[in-house]
C-alpha cells in the first residue's frame, strides 16, 4: 500500500534574471526511492530546497502528507518530516556526533544538559542503522562517509519520513556506497520516501524505483525505472536540439602547441593526457565535479601536482607556480571571476596591469602610467570592453565585461596557451557570442585554446575537439562535429566500476 506523501504542482521560482523552475510537478510515495535526474542547472536542487523550506516558491501547490503548506519555513519542513542530506555536509565539525544529532533540540535535565541521555538515544539510532560510530566522537575527526551517515542518523532521529539525498555517493568509496545503499533499503522498507539526486546513472539500478526527469527548470516526465532503457532516460535529460547559433571559424590545423602528459594531482586529476594544436579549440566537457577545474589549476600551477609533464611548442616546461606558467606563455581565465579572476575592488586599469607589471615598469621599478594607459587602451579596444573609462571598479562591470577584463589581462603578453574555465557562466547571450569570437580570434592567431564548459551545446558548437572527463579521469575524446550529446553524456557518466553489490 503506497500513499502519496509529497505532491508538488505548478511550482515556479525565479531568481533575478533566471527562471529556475517553471510549472514543475513532483510526486513522492511512501516506501519508494525516487531518482530526480537532469543536467547541471536543470533545477533539481532548487526544487528540493523548496520542499525543505530553504527557498520559498513564487507559485504552485505543495502538499506534504496530505497537508497543504503556504510559505514553508525550514522548521515547518522539519516538523512535517522532511530532511535534506546536503551535498556539502552541514555539520558543526567541532561538536560530537551526539551533539550534532541533537543540535537545536537538546535534551536537558532540570539544570544541565542530559548528555548521557542524548548519547544513549544517538547510539540507539546508530545501532538501529547498524552504523558503527561512537556518539561521543568529534564529527570533524570522522571520514566524510561517516559524517554523511551521521547526517542521515540525525534526520531519522527527528523522525524524518522524507529524505532528500543530493549526490550522496560523490565522496564515497565502493564499500561505503554499499553501506549507504543498505541503509536506503532499510529506510524504504520502513516506509520512508527518499528523493535521490545523482549523476551516476549506473548506480541507480541498485536502489531506484521511479525517476523524475527535469530539464531547464521544467518537468519533463516521470516513469518507473524498471524496464526503462538508460538511453531513453538520457534522451529525456538532454532533450533539446541545439538551437543557439555558435560562430564557428574554420582554421587549418597546424603543429602541436601544447601537450600534457600523465598529469596527476590528487583524486580529481588522474593520469591526464591531451594535446592542443594550432588552429583548434579543445573543449572540456563533463559534469560538475568531474575534475576539469582541478586539471586547469594543476596545469597552471595554482595547485601542486604529483607528476606530469607539460610541453609548450615541443619544449618541456616546468610549472611549479602560476608565475612559471605565465613566463612560459600558459595563462588561465579561472572559473570564478569574482573570486579568482579579478580584484573586484580595484579598477579595470589595475586589474589589467596586475600580471603585466614587469613589462610596465621603468628602470627604477616604478609603474609607468603611460605604458599602463597604452596597455589598457589596447585591451579595451580589442576586447570591446564597455566602460566609460578604465578607472571604475571592475566589480561594477557586467559579468560579460568582467570576463573580458579577465581575458584582457593575458592578451598583452605573448601567450601560447589560453585556458578558459567556464568563461560564459552567468553572462548574457550577446556577451557570450563576444567571448566565442574572442576564442576564435585566438585560434586564428595560432594560440592553443582550452575551453572548459559544463554547457554542452556551447562546447559542441565552439570546440573542434572535445575531451570528456568524469571523476578525475579522461573518459573519452570526440570530434565535435561527429558526436552527439548522448555520446558525451554517456562518457561523462562512465564512472569507474565500483563493484556495487545490491542486496
Amino acid at each position: 500500500m503506497k500513499d502519496i506523501i509529497v505532491s508538488m504542482e505548478n511550482i515556479s521560482k525565479s531568481f533575478p534574471g533566471v527562471k529556475a523552475l517553471d510549472n514543475v510537478k513532483f510526486e513522492l510515495c511512501s516506501g519508494e526511492v525516487m531518482a530526480l535526474l537532469g543536467e547541471n542547472g536543470a533545477g533539481k536542487s532548487t526544487l528540493m530546497k523548496i520542499l525543505s523550506g530553504v527557498y520559498t516558491r513564487d507559485g504552485g501547490r505543495l502538499e506534504i502528507f496530505g497537508k497543504e503548506y503556504g510559505d514553508l519555513t525550514p522548521k515547518q519542513a522539519q516538523e512535517a518530516g522532511v530532511a535534506i542530506i546536503h551535498q556539502e555536509l552541514n555539520m558543526c565539525k567541532h561538536l560530537s556526533v551526539a551533539e550534532n544529532m541533537f543540535l537545536g533540540r537538546e535534551l536537558s535535565g532540570r539544570f544541565a544538559l542530559d548528555n548521557a541521555g542524548m548519547e544513549a538515544k544517538a547510539r540507539e539510532v546508530l545501532d538501529d542503522l547498524k552504523i558503527d560510530i561512537d556518539p561521543r566522537q568529534t564529527v570533524g575527526d570522522l571520514p566524510v562517509s561517516k559524517q554523511q551517515m551521521v547526517e542521515i542518523a540525525k534526520a531519522l532521529s527527528i523522525n524524518a519520513r522524507i529524505l532528500i539525498m543530493d549526490e550522496p555517493t560523490s565522496a564515497l568509496t565502493a564499500r561505503e556506497i554499499e553501506d549507504l545503499f543498505r541503509i536506503i533499503h532499510k529506510l524504504k522498507d520502513d516506509g520512508c520516501g527518499i528523493v535521490y539526486i545523482s549523476h551516476r546513472l549506473e548506480e541507480l539500478q541498485h536502489i531506484v524505483d521511479r525517476v523524475t526527469i527535469m530539464r531547464d527548470g521544467q518537468y519533463i516526465t516521470s516513469m518507473d525505472f524498471a524496464g526503462t532503457p538508460m538511453d531513453q532516460i538520457i534522451t529525456h535529460m538532454v532533450g533539446r536540439e541545439i538551437k543557439e547559433k555558435f560562430p564557428r571559424v574554420e582554421c587549418e590545423k597546424g603543429k602541436k602547441v601544447f601537450e600534457v602528459k600523465n598529469l596527476n594531482a590528487g583524486r580529481m586529476v588522474r593520469d591526464i593526457n591531451f594535446s592542443v594544436y594550432e588552429g583548434e579549440i579543445v573543449g572540456f566537457a563533463g559534469l560538475m565535479g568531474a575534475g576539469r577545474t582541478e586539471t586547469t589549476r594543476a596545469i597552471f600551477g595554482a595547485d601542486p601536482k604529483e607528476s606530469g609533464e607539460i610541453y609548450v611548442d615541443g619544449k618541456e616546461v616546468k610549472i611549479h607556480c602560476p608565475m612559471d606558467a605565465i613566463r612560459n606563455g600558459v595563462v588561465l581565465a579561472p572559473e570564478d571571476r569574482k573570486k579568482d579572476g579579478l580584484c573586484t575592488k580595484l579598477s579595470i586599469r589595475h586589474n589589467l596591469a596586475l600580471p603585466n607589471l614587469d613589462m610596465l615598469c621603468n628602470k627604477l621599478g616604478a609603474v609607468s602610467s603611460k605604458k599602463e594607459s597604452e596597455l589598457c587602451g589596447k585591451a579595451v579596444k580589442n576586447l570591446k570592453i564597455k566602460t566609460p573609462n578604465v578607472e571604475i571598479d571592475s566589480g561594477n562591470l557586467s559579468g560579460g565585461n568582467q570576463q573580458k577584463v579577465v581575458v584582457g589581462k593575458w592578451l598583452a603578453r605573448d601567450s601560447r596557451v589560453v585556458i578558459f574555465d567556464e568563461p560564459t557562466r552567468g553572462i548574457d547571450v550577446g556577451a557570450k557570442v563576444e567571448i566565442y569570437n574572442l576564442m576564435n580570434e585566438l585560434k586564428q592567431q595560432g594560440i592553443a585554446v582550452m575551453f572548459v564548459s559544463s554547457e554542452m551545446p556551447e562546447v559542441m558548437g565552439i570546440a573542434d575537439r572535445i575531451v570528456v572527463m568524469c571523476d578525475g579521469r579522461i573518459t573519452g575524446e570526440v570530434m565535435a562535429r561527429e558526436t552527439t550529446q548522448s555520446e558525451i553524456l554517456t562518457l561523462a557518466t562512465s564512472f569507474e566500476d565500483k563493484n556495487i553489490n545490491s542486496r
Partner: protein, 340 residues
Amino acid sequence: MNSNRQSLWKRIMGVRGMGAALTAFVGLVIIYIAFGLINPTVFSGQNILNLLRSMSKYLLIGIAQSYVLITGNIDLSIGTQVGMSAMISATLMTSGISPAVAILVALISCLAVGVINGYLVGKFKLPPFIATLGTMFVTRGIAYMVNGNRNTDAISTGVGKEVADQFQNFFYYGSTLGVYNTFWIAMVVFVIFFFFLSKTRSGRHIYAIGSNIDAAKLSGVNVVMTTTKAYLVSSVCSCIVGLILCAQAGMGNMEAGNMYEMYGVAAGVIGGVSPLGGTGILLGTLAGAAVWQTLENGLNMIGAQVGIQRLVIGIIVVTAVLLDVVVRNGEFGKKKKKQS
C-alpha cells in the same frame, strides 16, 4: 582499579579542548617553578596570594573574551566597558548613592552594551571587529562623560569611609578563608559560566554557531539570541572587573581597563580557545590567565622591566597558536579546495 583510572583519564582527555588546556597548565607549572628557582620569593605565601588576586582580573576578562571568541566573533569593547563600569559606580558613590545601587546601574549599563553588540553582530551581521570597535569608542566616551571628563574623587567623600571600606574590602582588599575576596568572586563567576558553557543548551549553541553557523541555523538554533548571550556574558564579566578596579583604586579612573580586551584574547588563546570559533574551554582560559600573571609576576620578581614583560607575552601568545597549528595542522593551515 587500574583500568578504572585509565578510563577516567580517557574521559577527561575526551573533553574537547582539554588537551590544549592541560598543555597550558603544564606550561604554567614549568614557568612558575623556573621563576621560583631564580627568586625563591616567588614561592612565598604572600606572593601566591597576590598572584591569585591579580590573576582573577585577567581570568574574568579571559572568560569575557573566550565566550565571544568561541562564537567566532570578537569583543573589542571589553576594556572600555570595564572603564565605564568603574566610572559609573565611582561617580554614583562619590555623590553618596549606596554601593548596591551603584553596582546595579553599572551592571545595567554594561548589559545594554552587550545587547547592542549582540544585535549588531548577530542580527545586522556587522563584522564583529567593526561593531565592537564602535561600541568601544562609545563606552570610553561615556566613561569620560559621566564625571565631566575627569577622574572621580575618592568614593569615601560621598558614601563615607565606613561604606567605602566595606565596598573596597568586598571586591579587593578583604579576605575570606585566608585568600583575597577578588579570587573568590572570580571563582564563583568562573564556576557559573563554566557550567553555563559546558552543560547548558545555550552553551552548546554558542559552540555550534562558532563551528558552523549555517548548520546551526538549519538545526533551529537562534543565532541572534545565542550571539547576544555570549556578548552579555562578556559584559557581565567586564562590569565585575570594573567594580574590582574601582575598589582597588578607591576612585574612578577614566582610563581603567585600557587594552583589557586584548589581554582577554591572549588569556583565551594561550589556553586553547580558537579565535576562529567553535573550540576552547574555560579551563583553558583559567590556565591562560594564570600563565599570563605568573609571567608578569615572575618577571617583576626577577627585576625585568615592563618592556621585557610585554615582549615575552607577545612571544608566548604567538607560540601558543603556532604550536596549535603545527601540532594539529588544523584550520589555520588548511585551505578549502574548490570543486569544478
